[in-house]
Symmetry: C2
């Protein structure tokens, strides 16, 4: 059985795993994201300590990144605000140390690929995976291809209508203030209400506001991309009361205009949590490794 | 030389043409969109009267449509508000009368394909074509494929921030009121200011507001899709003063976050008019015909 390695490189923590799929994760390690030298060193050590070698590694990384295989900076974390991590050649460092093919994409595209390979997006060709946590980010597939383009999507940074009278909170985004991420990320919820979301009761009025902003985001993505499904991950989505409010708010916003049964009748199966739970990212990284092995056509070692 | 036929089926007018490309349009006819029987009849008669037969026909249609070749309703105009045109099986009628392969897509995807084949999107794999006229609609390619998904994008129907104090106009969209189309389509401009856009002087304050709303739309599309270029067609874009205002407003809204030279330094080549001018749609329909002929692999008759 060919083994693959996956690295979910998050801005808060790294998750590394070895395996072949959701039912065969042989080793998993989690550690906080500190300095590049320490954290990347830990990831390299994890793979070096495995009893069996991996045929390839996949990395799903926080960003912004350069995900273009034809670019000189492919696999680099570029202009991130995270101190010390600008211009870190993550893929190159992993590849140089472990000497296997290394696939690379954004964290959200990796999670999307994981859900496509084994989870809630199986059989679909156009869908998005959105994470709502420390930040808001989105990736996915259109016509069967992972989304890239000019660089890669930055779905959290769209502007949404903001009623300053009802919600005078100015938003947390250092670039845009009240973009979607600025209004509805985990830190935005905490700063607006003075308490972290996981300490707010389910009937706190903040959740209705949260559903309102997120529904604006999702309705925009529906109109722009026409996804066949929307998968919502990330820490904020652990609030189970959110999903039903959000589905209803999306229907209200679209107001019957997009005449698909998926939205009009079966929205419970249209806006869904990840089938792989918290493992979408690292499993997606393993799926990236599979792809990379196929692409490079090296025999498994 | 194999000839192809193209039909740009607009809600206001139909354009039919025969040819092989932008430098070889042998016949072109334009007529107003009245009833389906009359208008589709005129299109059929146009092709029947040609001295040489066409190998295939492409249709780029107003919508919403069903653009899914595997659907029983492929090529049908579905839930359009245009009286008499609901559930019109446009592709089927053309195919039955003219008995050649018929390709079908949205008007904006056809225009995008035309610009990809011969115009401003040559060599790109991810871009959008947006029309701003009677309505606002968008199509394009992601990863080299025309955008479809659940149905097809409805880019004009995204919500954008609307400052009711600065602009108390409620918008014209019967579904959403103040979505982008409701605030910035041609009819919205005319209803807000009481005069059609083409009679407003270039220094009318309405153009600054128009650039503001459109820039919100474009910045949203940049964040959601990461296009390599944005092509802007449609009647409202005939206002030449708009494009420079719009480019600047997009840069201001993105505020340096998307760190690509295309946006930071060369936005004049990033947000552009169609290279095929008013012919993007009908030439794109001819490009759809080419594709359909290739797909069906019938010899040219």
């Amino acid at each position: 059985m060919t083994l693959y390695g996956g690295i979910e490189a998050g801005g808060t923590k790294f998750i590394c795993a070895v395996g072949t799929g959701p039912n065969d994760l042989r080793a998993v390690a989690r550690f906080p994201t500190t300095t590049p030298a320490e954290t990347i060193g830990q990831a390299i050590a994890f793979f070096q300590q495995q009893p069996e070698p991996v045929a390839a590694i996949g990395i799903g990384s926080f960003g912004p990144v350069d995900p273009d295989p034809s670019s000189a900076d492919y696999g680099t974390i570029t202009s991130t605000p995270k101190p010390g991590w600008q211009n870190v050649r993550l893929r190159e460092q992993i590849q140089a140390a472990l000497r296997v093919p290394v696939g690379f994409d954004t964290d959200v595209n990796a999670a999307a690929l994981g859900e496509h390979r084994w989870g809630a997006a199986r059989g679909l060709d156009t869908f998005i995976y959105l994470t709502v946590g420390t930040g808001i980010g989105g990736g996915g597939m259109v016509g069967g291809r992972l989304m890239h383009g000019l660089i890669h999507p930055e779905m959290g940074h769209i502007r949404v209508p903001h009623d300053w009278q009802a919600d005078p909170f100015a938003g947390t985004c250092p670039y845009h203030g009240d973009c979607l991420e600025g209004l509805a990320s985990g830190p935005a919820v905490e700063r607006r209400w003075g308490v972290p979301g996981d300490q707010m009761p389910p009937d706190h009025p903040g959740w209705q506001l949260q559903a309102h902003y997120m529904a604006h985001g999702l309705a925009t993505f529906v109109c722009t991309l026409s996804p066949q499904r929307i998968i919502l991950g990330g820490g904020v989505m652990q609030q189970e009361q959110l999903l039903p409010m959000l589905r209803k708010a999306v229907q209200t916003l679209l107001n019957g205009y997009v005449q698909s049964p998926a939205i009009l009748e079966q929205i419970d199966q249209y806006i869904v949590p990840p089938a792989l739970g918290g493992n979408s990212g690292v499993l997606g990284a393993i799926a990236l490794a599979e792809r990379e092995a196929r692409r490079t056509k090296r025999p498994a070692r």
